[in-house]
């Protein structure tokens, strides 16, 4: 089972590594990180580089496509080399998926028009501008179109487990959950727009700017 993660400048690492850590443990999985050109691509913080082991041009199909988000997504949306590749690969996949603002790239490729989808809570307007209808859910599955979108960053772990169950059965997904000891116990409860108070939103804006 070929599972492909496209990277582009200023992606967010956990968007990719959350589902990678789940899906790479599926029996028969082969995971490939790709980019316009092979080599190390830096994340949005600049502190981390992940190796793209193949060029987009080297990959003409995938069973599963996982598109991460990041601050670089807006720039990437106008990169027809990447967006056109996503559109093409989608024609070959069993499942096409995104995490965080990765859904903006699915939207730019025309895959979400008229569909419910999710993204990072801070990007819902941009998602809707692609023709999708934003819903404030953590994982949105379209079984008929074989498309899954996940909310911000850490939601990719929940998406990965949902997808693992669809691909290999609930028992395998449960076993992988135990393997990565995913029994979350966040010390705070501010992880969504609905749960965070206004002071937390303002503090986040301060930190990010």
């Amino acid at each position: 089972m070929d599972i492909v993660f496209p990277l582009y400048p200023d992606y967010t690492a956990l968007d990719a590594i959350g589902p990678y850590e789940v899906l790479s443990r599926l029996p028969g999985a082969k995971v490939t990180f790709v980019a316009a050109e092979p080599g190390v691509l830096r994340t949005d913080t600049g502190f981390l580089g992940i190796s793209a082991d193949a060029a987009l041009a080297d990959i003409d199909r995938a069973d599963v496509l996982v598109v991460p988000g990041g601050t670089g997504t807006r720039q990437a949306m106008s990169d027809e080399g990447l967006v056109g590749w996503i559109r093409h690969i989608h024609g070959t996949t069993e499942w096409t998926t995104s995490v965080c603002t990765g859904s903006l790239l699915l939207g730019a490729a025309g895959l979400l028009t008229g569909k419910k989808a999710t993204t990072h809570w801070g990007a819902k307007g941009e998602l809707e501008a692609t023709g999708a209808t934003y819903v404030a859910e953590r994982v949105v599955v379209h079984p008929d179109e074989k498309i899954i979108t996940a909310a911000g960053v850490s939601a990719g772990i929940d998406m990965g487990l949902t997808l693992a169950a669809a691909l290999a059965g609930d028992d395998v997904a449960r076993a992988i959950q135990l393997g990565i000891e995913y029994d979350p116990q966040p010390p705070f409860d501010s992880g969504s727009e609905a749960k965070a108070d206004q002071a937390t939103v303002e503090r986040l804006i301060e930190i990010m700017t």
Copy 2:
């Protein structure tokens, strides 16, 4: 604030990337991934490479040390170059931390003798062999010794938020939680040894062997 992640062959990516995604967003953070030699190091699955941007020998101090685990930990425990470096850097840190079997490396460095600590549920015997007392908790904090150990793989996100609060205050940690939209909703509830049934444990062993 210098935050340093040592890598070694066959580490687990999410062990490092969970806390990286939290801690890299702290105001003033500077994160560096290091290894015996700079270059791309492959994870335990072989499907992913992360760039170590400095050599262990280039780094002689850190404010925060985060040691990830992985199937390579057992080999790494007998690498005195790495274990001795951890012991030395610990003498300079504000906080020394581990995720998953990373605690075996803290134990090998002599940092956990007689202390309560945690690790991946499957490695508790190995942790105790280093002189620590295993406790089945997700995050174990020793405020006096400034040591934190986290349970398996995904527990590094919870550890990262706990540490972010200790370093920069609860308000900053809450804001980062909102930024990475950490509002976990696992589709199953099998993420700990206490919650998983025997069939799930057996399925995991099948998958991993």
